[in-house]
């Protein structure tokens, strides 16, 4: 699903050029659950942003389902992203002015789906995430765990092929964190590909494969033994 070859990303300020990603090669197969780990500033988020088509690489090639993404215009990236990708953030990034229902509905609106279909999909995903009883609440009225469940609902409501999670448990206590990880695992088992950036060893153990990044380069890749054991 994801083929990354010789990818480079540099940021330029007036005087200094910083190389955030240096010659990264990474393939992610359909149905995989990959965790990207590494210390702060190693380039994890930059890589995730590029995979999520929020950012363009400076050099190299990134193919998403055989579409070359590098060099696409913003409008084209938006089109490719719609419905194919779901995002889960550490800080949830729900829109405070919209209710739970409306937040989850938003990606469907951008897909120009009609109202009854939207309603059916939103309610189904909310039921599944056990948050349907809160549909009329605003994000500020929910606990962190509930907010992240809403965010995951929003990420999956379009049935995306790929979910990108950026430290999804970073702002949660361990109980809620485990719950979120279980949800992601469940989605993965249903066939959704997941790429997750994390600091947490616990979380990384949910993945099939761990990619370690250091100073913009992939230093190790390891199959997850725990997973292997489970599989």
């Amino acid at each position: 699903m994801i083929k990354i070859q010789n990818l480079k990303k540099s940021f330029r300020t007036e005087e200094v050029e910083t190389l955030a990603l240096n010659d990264v090669n990474l393939n992610v197969a359909s149905g995989e659950f990959v965790a990207i780990m590494g210390p702060s500033g190693c380039g994890k988020s930059t890589l995730l942003n590029i995979i999520g088509m929020l950012d363009n690489p400076t050099e190299g090639s990134y193919k998403f389902s055989d579409h070359e993404v590098g060099g696409l215009k913003e409008r084209q990236r938006t089109e490719l992203r719609k419905g194919n990708l779901g995002f889960v953030f550490q800080s949830f990034n729900l829109i405070d002015e919209l209710t739970v229902y409306e937040n989850v509905e938003l990606p469907l609106i951008y897909l120009k789906m009609n109202k009854s279909e939207r309603k059916q999909k939103v309610m189904a995903v909310l039921e599944r995430m056990k948050i349907a009883h809160r549909e009329k609440h605003f994000p500020q009225q929910l606990s962190g765990g509930q907010q992240q469940r809403v965010a995951i609902s929003r990420a999956v409501v379009t049935n995306p092929k790929l979910i990108l999670a950026d430290e999804p448990t970073g702002n949660l206590d361990s109980k809620n964190g485990i719950e979120v990880m279980n949800l992601l695992t469940e989605l993965n088992q249903e066939g959704t590909t997941i790429v997750m950036v994390t600091h947490s060893d616990r979380d990384s153990h949910y993945a099939h494969r761990i990619v370690n990044l250091f100073d913009g380069q992939i230093v190790t890749e390891s199959q997850n033994r725990a997973m292997e054991a489970r599989v």
Partner: protein, 810 residues
């Protein structure tokens, strides 16, 4: 999708009441100003267009240069109208007005007079010319017979109903009996006839039938045939001089030719003035009604435009500053698949919504302040609620305004990158700072420009009011229409003179404030040649005139009851003296005559020279003037001693009611009457002031919002600085100076502009101030002071916050 946009827009507005208030209120104030100004300008531009064939009606104006005097008259000679109609096929119709000013009207059998402010003789073609319908009476015969008149509805209703007014008699000024032959509707407030209520048949006016080409006392209107235009009448008009005027003049100056007339520096030129241009483009002597000027329309339009731009600038500034808070939403929406176009749409819908809410508020505000505005502008404007076009324009303008002011924030925000906005939360830096700063500079440049203009207008007005005018206008009470007392006028003056509070009093219709005027050509004895004429104002006064108005004689003496020969005496002013070309002492004893025919000559002997006094507005130079001793009882001017004026006025009123029962008692103070000459300037000054305050207010709203935003953005920085030992005053200073730099730049731009523009405006005055440096300094100071007040509240608030709190928001 649009529903979603509207929903989130509405919730955003509700959630940020402070910013919403600043935005909506600023826009609404700008819109209110623009609505009021548009209505006013529309009213100004609509003058006289309601009359039938108004585009084919012209007034004949006369430019005269004669006897050292120049006059641009709105009138023509009595026979002009007939000559034009008889000689030229292009002229379809003509009408003449001979205005008579105010008059007292009463039913023959009663004593109670009512005063009509503007009355005029008019030709019977009046109705056809302007397409005026009669409410009652016969348009074919009304105004054809002498001593008949037509009244407006309001004037008629003071005495009779509209229906039974026909055939009734009215006594004018207690002397002439007129029969009412028609009633017309009140004339539109946006027409040159707006103040006129009594129309008397020209048939009864003797001078209207005389073949006198020398006097220009008739407002003459012509209507051209549809195929003709003003250019077609140019040559015919020019030919009138050779054909009629010169042959008439040769009766008095035998041997005078067009060449010798011109060689003496004299000229007479006739022009056409389109009816619909009179209100905005005509500023001639003795116009039929007070006109406005296109300059004022431009000035006001610019101010209206300024206000709207200021309000839009505010909106852009606040919205982009505020976008910091919206950055996360933009990021989320983008990651969820919204593209730029959709985001732009969303923000435009939001600004459209704000604009519409502001419109509602603006309409409400307009309704509330309209009466005040009417007072300010001297109009009777109303909101055209029933006119769908008005609403359509308002709505479309609002949408355009919303889109325009929303465009910059929308494009600005839709460009935010999700990668940057999502990660950091609230401490993302928001760009566009330079543009925001430029907008603040622009706002203050406009505000300071308006402050300078206001100060200059008021300085000039103050200068006019305090200038040595050559007479004293303070504590002088004017009793109007005293002629109505008839034979009792003398007794009235005597009894008033006995009141303890009265210093002296004088009868005259001619005063150095708006009142009667007349003028004539005079010749020095033995010099009756057309090139020696002196065009001189002729004022009829009594012997108390000069002392009562504290005028100064620089040679000779005042009129004296003891000198029986003073009925043929004249006191001239310095301007006449200059025309005579002698020194004051030498002028005494000179004899001048007004009659051109030598055998009829009646000579007046100069007995005194009065120091020049300003009898017209300070826009004009002082012309030649002569005071003559004659009975002229239009107004009694009373010089009062300091004290309780109210008491004195009521004493005078009781004397009046005793001597002139049934006659209206009305008075004014001379300084007030003087000020009415500067109505246009006063009005301009007040309008400037109001809109200056508005514009500063809008600019401050914006600055206030921006300061709040800035303080918020720098919360962390302020916290760190405080931890490191910065004092509250240092931080306040730091936050405030940033804004003051922008205000300062705005001032630098606007001062030269204001100085230049207002110097142009002052050029209209013969007697004017120079713009001194302190006016500019004061304007700059005011702007800085207001800006400091606005910004420091937010700055101090931010500076005194406990750093522990502000750092926690990280």
């Amino acid at each position: 999708m649009y529903k979603n946009y509207l929903k989130i827009a509405w919730r955003n507005l509700k959630k940020q009441p402070f910013f919403t208030f600043l935005n909506v209120f600023g826009l609404a104030i700008g819109m209110t100003g623009a609505i009021l100004i548009s209505l006013f300008v529309h009213d100004e531009l609509s003058f006289d267009k309601m009359f039938a064939d108004s585009d084919r009606i012209y007034r004949i104006d006369t430019d005269i240069k004669f006897g050292g005097a120049e006059m641009e008259s709105a009138q023509a000679a009595a026979p002009m109208a007939n000559a034009l109609q008889n000689d030229f096929a292009q002229v379809k119709n003509t009408v003449r007005f001979r205005t008579k000013g105010s008059m007292l009207l009463r039913k023959s059998e009663t004593n109670d007079n009512s005063k009509e402010l503007q009355t005029t003789f008019v030709d019977s073609t009046f109705f056809d010319m302007f397409g005026i319908q009669l409410l009652s009476g016969d348009r074919k015969t009304a105004l054809t017979q002498p001593n008949t008149l037509v009244l407006t509805k309001t004037a008629a209703e003071k005495h009779f109903g509209i229906k039974n007014a026909i055939g009734q008699n009215l006594l004018l000024n207690n002397t002439d009996t007129y029969t009412i032959t028609g009633v017309i509707d009140d004339l539109p407030t946006n027409s040159f006839l707006k103040d006129y209520s009594v129309f008397m048949a020209m048939a009864g006016h003797v001078a209207s039938r005389e073949n006198n080409w020398g006097g220009n006392n008739f407002y003459t209107f012509i209507k051209l045939i549809p195929s003709a235009n003003a250019d077609d009448i140019k040559i015919p008009l020019a030919s009138m001089l050779e054909k009629y005027m010169l042959p008439w003049a040769q009766k008095y100056f035998p041997g005078m030719t067009g060449e010798s007339f011109a060689a003496a520096g004299n000229s007479i030129r006739y022009h056409t003035m389109p009816l619909t241009d009179i209100h905005l483009y005509s500023a001639r002597e003795s116009e039929m009604s007070s006109n406005s000027s296109m300059q004022n329309v431009y000035i006001l339009s610019f101010i209206g435009l300024f206000l709207i731009i200021l309000a839009c600038v505010n909106f852009m500034n606040l919205s982009t500053a505020h976008s910091l808070k919206r950055a996360k939403e933009v990021g989320v929406r983008k990651t969820l698949g919204s593209n730029k176009t959709e985001l732009i749409q969303q923000f435009l819908i939001e600004s459209g919504l704000i604009a519409l809410i502001s419109l509602l508020l603006a309409v409400a505000l307009s309704i509330t302040v309209l009466p005040l505005f009417n007072e300010l502008s001297g109009r009777a404007i109303s909101l055209p609620f029933t006119n769908p076009i008005f609403w359509l324009i308002l709505f479309v303008a609002t949408i355009i305004l919303g889109l325009f002011s929303g465009s910059y924030p929308a494009f600005f925000m839709s460009r935010l990158m999700p990668v940057k906005t999502l990660k950091g939360g609230s401490h993302t830096s928001v760009g566009g700072g330079n543009i925001r700063n430029a907008l603040v500079v622009f706002q203050f440049a406009i505000s300071v420009f308006l402050i300078v203009s206001t100060l200059v207008v008021f300085q000039q007005l103050k200068f006019i009011q305090s200038k040595d005018l050559g007479f004293t206008k303070d504590q002088v009470l004017l009793i109007n229409d005293t002629y109505a007392a008839g034979k009792q006028v003398k007794a009235f003056k005597e009894e008033v003179g006995r009141l303890g509070q009265v210093q002296s009093s004088t009868f005259s219709s001619f005063l150095p404030v708006p009142s009667s005027r007349s003028s004539s050509s005079f010749f020095e004895e033995g010099a009756i040649e057309q090139d020696k004429a002196i065009q001189m104002g002729t004022w009829y006064v009594d012997e108390d005139y000069i002392p009562t108005l504290s005028m100064k004689l620089i040679a000779g003496r005042n009129f004296d009851k003891q000198h029986l020969t003073d009925s043929t005496a004249v006191i001239i002013n310095e301007s006449t003296l200059k025309r005579l070309g002698v020194n004051p002492e030498a002028a005494l004893g000179m004899r001048i005559s007004e009659e051109i025919e030598i055998e009829k000559s009646k000579f007046f002997t100069v007995i005194g020279v009065v120091k020049n006094f300003h009898f017209e507005s300070l826009r004009e130079n002082i012309n030649a003037l002569g005071l003559f001793l004659d009975k002229s009882t239009g107004t009694l001017a009373i010089k009062l001693k300091a004290g309780d004026f109210k008491q004195t006025i009521s004493s005078i009123e009781s004397i009046w009611t005793k001597l002139a029962p049934g006659q209206p008692f009305s008075y004014r103070f001379m300084d007030d009457a003087f000020n009415t000459s500067y109505d246009a300037e006063q009005r301009l000054g007040r309008i400037f002031m109001v809109f200056t305050i508005l514009s500063i207010f809008i600019a401050c709203l914006g600055l206030f919002g921006l300061a709040a935003f800035n303080a918020q953005k720098r919360t962390k920085e302020i916290g760190i600085r405080k931890v490191l030992g910065a004092s509250i005053s240092q931080i306040t200073y730091r936050l405030t100076t940033d804004f003051l730099k922008m205000v300062g730049l705005g001032i630098l731009i606007s001062l030269p502009l204001g100085w230049y523009t207002m110097n142009k405006w002052l050029e209209d005055f013969s007697y004017r101030i120079e713009i001194s440096w302190w006016i500019l300094a004061l304007a700059a100071f005011l702007a800085i002071a207001v800006a400091i007040l606005t910004v420091s509240y937010q700055s101090i608030k931010a500076a005194i916050t406990n750093p522990v709190k502000s750092l926690k928001t990280e």
